[in-house]
């Protein structure tokens, strides 16, 4: 049984085709890295899993994306509930202009939870999950903007975890962070794997190699190769993958 399946997915921005016939199946509790040069469609593809591209006018998708066996683009699908199940972490830390506590509690509140004690507990567990608790436990009422970039990004991950999704999408989550913060986030991804299915877009080859179980290489809107990370990095079957990974283009 696969957690996420993508069958013959085509995606269009207006009349230009951004993704061509993508077929991927992702197992639960794995980390999948999407790699490829800028503009290859990997972020667009990631944003299909929580229907984030719906926000962009004049886009069209064909084919099927199944999460837990259900077509998320079928008619009558509740997008808000889908997004509760499929959390997302963005490229730049984007906390709300609210307190640290309220940032993490936000997802619970918008989903209709008002039990104060429950929210407090959930906020605490979520922040502990991202190993930020010790750093922020005394300033939960302070603005989230007072945290450093790395702390903000971990807070954003905690925010995504608080509503207990089963899939977490990460769109270049460390591209705006320094090396120390980056390694903290990477450790975190590794730990989260036991509970969540993670799909991560990254520009950083080493990162893909370090954190992911499987890797998909995209080029010009096409899926060139999809395999175990180990195979992709050691014995890529396709020459273009090899060239990209070894840095000959990209």
């Amino acid at each position: 049984m696969f957690k996420i399946e993508s069958k013959n997915v085509d995606f269009f921005y207006g009349s230009s085709q951004a993704l061509k016939n993508i077929n991927i199946a992702i197992k639960p509790n794995t980390v999948t890295a999407l790699i490829g040069p800028s503009g290859c469609g990997k972020s667009t593809y990631l944003r299909l899993f929580n229907r984030m591209n719906d926000l962009i006018d004049n886009t069209k998708i064909t084919g099927q994306i199944l999460i837990d066996g259900e077509d998320i683009y079928a008619k009558g699908v509740n997008v808000d509930s889908l997004r509760k199940k499929v959390g997302m972490v963005f490229q730049k830390p984007n906390p709300f202009p609210k307190t640290i506590f309220e940032n993490v509690a936000y997802g619970l509140r918008v989903n209709g939870i008002s039990d104060k004690k429950f929210i407090e507990e959930r906020v605490e567990t979520s922040i502990k999950q991202v190993a930020l608790w010790e750093e922020v436990k005394d300033k939960l009422k302070k603005s989230a903007f007072e945290l450093s970039g790395g702390q903000q990004q971990r807070l954003c991950i905690a925010r995504a975890l608080a509503i207990q999704p089963s899939v977490i999408l990460m769109d270049e989550p460390t591209s705006a962070l320094d090396p120390i913060s980056t390694s903290k986030v990477e450790e975190l991804i590794y730990e989260l794997k036991s509970k969540y299915t993670i799909v991560i877009v990254t520009h950083n080859m080493q990162q893909a190699g370090r954190v992911s179980d499987t890797t998909a290489f995209f080029y010009m809107g096409e899926l060139i190769e999809y395999d175990n990370t180990k195979n992709i990095f050691t014995h890529p079957k396709i020459e273009r993958t090899q060239n990209y990974i070894t840095g000959r283009f990209g």
């Binding site: 929580n50 984030m52 926000l55 006018d57 808000d80 509930s81 997004r83 509760k84 959390g87 997302m88 963005f90 730049k92 984007n94 906390p95 709300f96 202009p97 609210k98 936000y106 997802g107 509140r109 918008v110 989903n111 603005s143 903007f145 954003c156 925010r159 995504a160 509503i163």
Partner: protein, 402 residues
């Protein structure tokens, strides 16, 4: 040689730019200086028309009357000296034209040469008299007593409830009804315009698609370009009769009509500024909210509006600013009664409308003229305060968003 020429040209342009900056700044300072110089002048004047005196019998113990007391005496609201603390009885009013009731034309003389003596005798003979007449008719041996008149006081000016700048013999310069009228109409305007403007800007920035927005936005901005006299005309022809029939009033020219017109006029300011603020909400912020399962509406009121609240406030305050300073449209629809309003269905008069309506008939440099400038100062201070508030709010917000 070429470098010298280039340097000279640069210096020249630099000087030109500095000059225009200086001239602009100086103009502003000059206008404000002129406004306050004229406005403050009113507090150096007596509320009785220049060249006139008020006199009583010599035995009358009263030396001083306020302009309000004088007005009440001549309006016959005070008819007895005892109310004012003098022992004598009912007041006898005397104006210059009353002189023929007491003296024959022969006594007065063809060219009024006997008039000073007549007045002098009359004030002496009638213990209850109060006389108001031109200074030039005071006899050399005047037997009556000239009353001292207080200068206009700032506190009376601000708290006075009556505005009769041309009243004889004593002008009433109480600006309270005008200030309240202005604030009343503006408050009504903002109460009408804010919900509507906010709804429209949320719709345009978050809900409407690009096509609708491209039609709506220029149209709303066009609203700001319509001359205010046209708004006034529209109000007079459409809104005033509508209010009159709806509320079954004797006249439709009310504070409400002014509020509606000003509300419409404030809308483009409110909408464009708050819409810009909302559109400036980072996309990442909205996406973060939606990605957490928040609905579109939840995202609007939990993220977009809080994020752009300072812009919305600025828009609202600038909208009020426009409403407070607006003259023509209000002049045309509010009925212009200088009384303290008790409901929105009564005529009111605003500060700008008063200045516009009365400045033409006020003699240059006179009491009335300067009182209108003092009103201008009050208006200036109100709008200055509003602009400083906007500045403060937007600065505070820059700090918040760092």
């Amino acid at each position: 040689m070429k470098t010298f020429y280039k340097k000279f040209l640069e210096k020249f342009i630099e000087g030109l730019l500095m000059l225009s900056g200086t001239v602009t700044t100086l103009t502003v300072v000059l206008i404000v200086f002129f406004l306050f110089k004229e406005g403050i002048g009113v507090f150096n004047k007596k509320p009785v028309e220049e060249g006139y005196v008020i006199a009583v019998n010599n035995k009358n113990p009263i030396n001083k009357l306020s302009s309000e007391q004088i007005k009440n005496i001549y309006d016959q609201k005070i008819t007895n000296w005892k109310i004012l603390g003098a022992p004598t009885d009912s007041i006898i009013l005397f104006r210059l034209e009353d002189v023929s009731n007491y003296y024959s034309d022969a006594e007065i003389g063809e060219n009024f040469e006997g008039l000073p003596i007549c007045i002098s005798l009359l004030t002496d003979s009638l213990p209850n008299i109060i006389a108001f007449f031109p200074e030039k008719y005071i006899d050399k041996n005047f037997k009556g007593k000239q009353l001292e008149i207080d200068k206009v006081k700032l506190s009376e000016f601000l708290t006075g409830k009556e505005w009769f700048p041309t009243a004889q013999p004593a002008a009433q310069l109480g600006v309270m009804p005008l200030i309240l009228g202005t604030l009343w109409v503006s408050l009504g305007a903002i109460l009408l315009a804010l919900p509507l403007g906010l709804a429209a800007s949320v719709y345009m920035s978050e809900i409407a698609n690009e096509k609708i927005r491209r039609i709506m936005k220029p149209l709303i901005e066009l609203l700001a370009g319509i001359p205010s006299v046209v708004y006034g005309f529209f109000g007079l022809v459409i809104i005033v009769p509508l209010i009159q029939t709806t509320f079954d009033l004797p006249v439709g020219e009310t504070g409400l009509a002014g509020s509606i017109i000003l509300g419409i006029m404030a809308l483009p300011t409110i909408i464009t500024i708050s819409e810009d603020a909302m559109r400036n909400t980072p996309r990442a912020m909205k996406e973060a909210s939606l990605a957490l399962g928040a609905s579109k509406w939840q995202t609007i009121y939990k993220v977009v509006i809080p994020y752009s609240i300072s812009g919305i406030t600025a828009g609202a305050i600038l909208g009020i600013g426009r409403a407070i300073g607006e003259t023509m449209a209000v002049l045309m629809v509010t009925g212009n009664a200088a009384v303290i309003p008790h409901s929105i269905l009564e005529p009111v008069r605003t500060i700008p409308a008063t200045i516009a309506a009365e400045l033409g008939e006020a003699p240059n440099g006179g009491l009335h003229f300067q009182a209108l400038f003092a009103l201008g100062c009050i208006l200036f201070l109100i709008t200055l305060f509003i602009n400083l508030t906007v500045e403060f709010i937007s600065n505070r917000n820059k700090y918040n968003k760092h």
